[in-house]
């Protein structure tokens, strides 16, 4: 088992603080390429910008295991300049517009500081305060002289913080996955060929993973992602039966989401791995949503696939909150799973 501590958290911090809105993943890609240098037998950046790294094992009859983690995050794109440093913008990926007014943002490759402006309470009526502010009336304000180019992306400005067992950051979805996959490459087991895909454009429709899976043509696929925990108590005291996942219970293994019915053999295999190694895990509640597995399992003639996620609260907002231990256990479960992986796992019928 690989060490887990400060170096891993430092890596996660750098990844979370980087800006990589879908379609503009360069900043995270550069960190990934630097971190994995020398770790893989082959590294390439494909036409869409995915980083595809192959680390061959040495055992006999090795399965080709694709593990993917998307590099992109949800954010904004500037679409019109209105002078005085004011920019109209669109959202990229699933963002709840109700949460935007008053948030600090970073624009472009140089991380220009700006604000999504909100009219102060002094100057609003009670009726206005009850209504949602529509996106087309919101602006990113860079201040006078602030200059950005149309098409540039912006992210939430939140900086990574750790408070003991707690992590607060933007973009934990899915820098958790990216950091995990880097660590998996660092300690790749010999019994498999590890096909690591750091993918692009997941948040706008699993686009990078689709071409990555076609290129890798793997025997099985695992998407490593981060998923919402809606685990707060109900306001009316009723049992919360729609929590999706819960913080503190370990990695979330997927049985079904809106994009994938996980291969039952892999659900069984990963949960048995957790049981055998004493690693806590939970099942993500079956429901909607999607991960790279949605594209991987439909590649070519089909790929048995599953997803594993680190849970976090407040998905796709400016500030997510998560637990160090949930990440540590996710990494441990995947390392344990890959080390025990063989073709036998998917030999029987699905």
């Amino acid at each position: 088992m690989a060490a887990f501590g400060n170096p891993q958290l430092k890596l996660l911090e750098r990844l979370c603080n980087a800006s990589a809105v879908s379609g503009d993943e360069g900043e995270v890609r550069r960190i990934v390429l630097a971190e994995i240098e020398g770790l893989a037998d082959e590294v390439k950046v494909d036409a869409l910008g995915n980083v595809l790294a192959t680390k061959k094992g040495t055992g006999r009859n090795r399965p080709r295991v694709m593990v993917s983690a998307h590099m992109d995050e949800v954010g904004f794109m500037l679409v019109a300049e209105e002078g005085e440093g004011l920019y109209r913008f669109e959202t990229v990926g699933g963002i709840d517009v109700r949460q935007l007014p008053g948030k600090a943002v970073l624009v472009g490759k140089d991380h220009l500081q700006g604000v999504i402006g909100a009219r102060p309470i002094h100057l609003t009526t009670a009726d206005e305060r009850r209504r949602t502010i529509p996106l087309d009336t919101l602006r990113i304000d860079l201040g006078p002289g602030g200059k950005a180019k149309l098409g540039e992306r912006a992210t939430f400005a939140t900086r990574f913080q750790r408070n003991g067992p707690v992590l607060i950051a933007k973009a934990l979805d899915n820098r958790f996955g990216v950091a995990t996959l880097i660590e998996l490459l660092r300690h790749a087991p010999e019994n498999i060929d590890l096909l690591a895909a750091f993918t692009v454009q997941e948040e706008i429709g699993l686009r990078g993973a689709k071409v990555a899976a076609h290129a890798f043509d793997p025997d099985l696929g695992i998407a490593v992602d981060s998923t919402p925990a809606n685990d707060l108590p109900s306001h009316d005291g009723e049992e919360n039966n729609a929590y999706n996942t819960r913080l503190g219970l370990g990695p979330a293994i997927y049985i079904a989401d809106g994009s994938t019915l996980s291969d039952p053999r892999l659900v069984q295999f990963l949960s048995a791995t957790g049981d055998a190694l004493g690693i806590p895990y939970q099942f993500r509640q079956p429901g909607g949503g999607g991960t790279d597995a949605g594209a991987i399992h439909r590649a070519r003639a089909g790929v048995p696939s599953i997803s594993v996620s680190v849970p976090h609260r407040y998905a796709h907002t400016a500030a997510l909150i998560s637990r160090v231990d949930d990440w540590k256990n996710t990494l441990a479960l995947l390392q344990g799973g890959l080390a025990r992986m063989s073709r036998d796992v998917i030999a029987g019928s699905r």
């Binding site: 049992e239 079904a256 019915l261 099942f283 079956p286 439909r298 590649a299 003639a301 019928s349 699905r350």
Partner: protein, 331 residues
């Protein structure tokens, strides 16, 4: 034939969990096929014949999965919350009976509704398996169930759950049985995960790499009181799909179907379906694209636990498919 329909429709195999139905179909077709295999997503693929001089490589697809439910939460009193596998009709919920894959039966209940005139949302429904606590509930999160309803024989018409698309499976099985000779290399494919987005047929088509694709699936009818506006009616023959909301059937495939029906004096109807699609869609856009179409069996009450088909339509569907496959195609 009726026995086969009963056997197939009374098997529980919601999307992604097609093991049971695959075994049943495997037994039926094992003596008829030249080669049988199961692919990575669980599609059952039966090859019959090889590509003759005037032949083509043709993929026929009928999906073997059915709509169902999956447990998402067991509450402290043993009630099971669930999400859907495929298009579930909320108005068909209350009082429905379900059976989990391990055999556990249950009934669907609903919370007290504020507006009794409105169908409940899925989040207001739960499954009761007679448990009294989370601990004694035999169902775990992720367990899957299908709707339970026996197949009934109304004489000329049959009613069952999962006619969509076990009736298509019956058409393929019977066509495989009746087909004496064909110039074509035929792949009879019983696909998975259609109800969650035609997933199995896509990967099967990539693997087979056919030159023509034909799906056999159910379609809606417009012949019930104040029903959907649609030309297709029960009992007027198989429906030749021209278009649905996910696919424009290749005109050459439409012509192949209608021309064959006219020559063989088999009644048929032309179908334009405004909502939904079939396995023909992923076949059409596989790899570099192929001509594809769909032969539909008219079915009433689709996606309810009581789907109705007409025996004449079924027999004529098989006849038409066999006639289509017996001769070379000219495109």
């Amino acid at each position: 034939m009726k026995q086969l329909i009963q056997k197939l429709t009374e098997t529980f195999s919601p999307s992604g969990y097609e093991n049971a139905i695959r075994e049943v179909i495997h037994k039926e077709i094992a003596p008829l096929a030249d080669e049988l295999r199961v692919d990575a997503l669980g599609n059952l693929i039966a090859r019959k014949g090889t590509r003759g001089k005037n032949g083509k490589k043709i993929m026929l697809a009928a999906h073997m999965d059915e709509i169902g439910l999956m447990a998402t939460h067991i509450d402290e009193n043993g009630f099971i919350r669930f999400s859907n596998l495929g298009g579930i009709r909320p108005q068909a919920m209350t009082g429905s009976r379900v059976r989990f894959i391990d055999g556990t039966p249950g009934v669907i209940g609903t919370e007290r509704l504020n507006d009794g005139g409105k169908a409940p949302g899925l989040e207001q429904c739960y499954i009761d398996v007679g448990a009294t606590s989370r601990k004694d509930c035999p169902v775990k999160v992720g367990d899957v169930c299908g709707f339970e309803r026996p197949c009934i024989d109304l004489g000329g018409r049959l009613v069952a759950k999962a006619m969509d698309d076990r009736i298509g499976c019956v058409v393929l099985i019977d066509a495989l049985r009746q087909l004496k000779s064909s110039p074509h290399e035929l792949y009879f494919v019983f696909t998975t995960q259609e109800e969650v987005g035609t997933r199995g047929a896509g990967t099967a088509a990539f693997g087979i790499d056919p030159e023509i694709g034909v799906a056999v699936d159910v379609t809606l009818t417009g012949d019930t009181p104040k029903g959907v506006k649609m030309e297709v009616a029960l009992g007027k023959g198989p429906a030749v799909k021209v278009k649905d909301s996910g696919m424009l059937a290749d005109p050459r495939v439409v012509e192949w179907m209608t021309g064959t029906a006219e020559k063989a004096r088999i009644p048929y109807q032309r179908e334009v379906l405004e909502g939904g699609t079939t396995d023909a869609r992923p076949m059409q856009v596989t790899r570099a694209g192929i001509p594809a179409g769909c032969l539909s069996v008219p079915t009433r009450y689709v996606h309810s636990p009581s789907e109705m088909v007409d025996m004449q339509d079924l027999e004529n569907s098989v006849k038409l498919l066999v006639a289509m496959l017996a001769k070379p195609v000219d495109f």
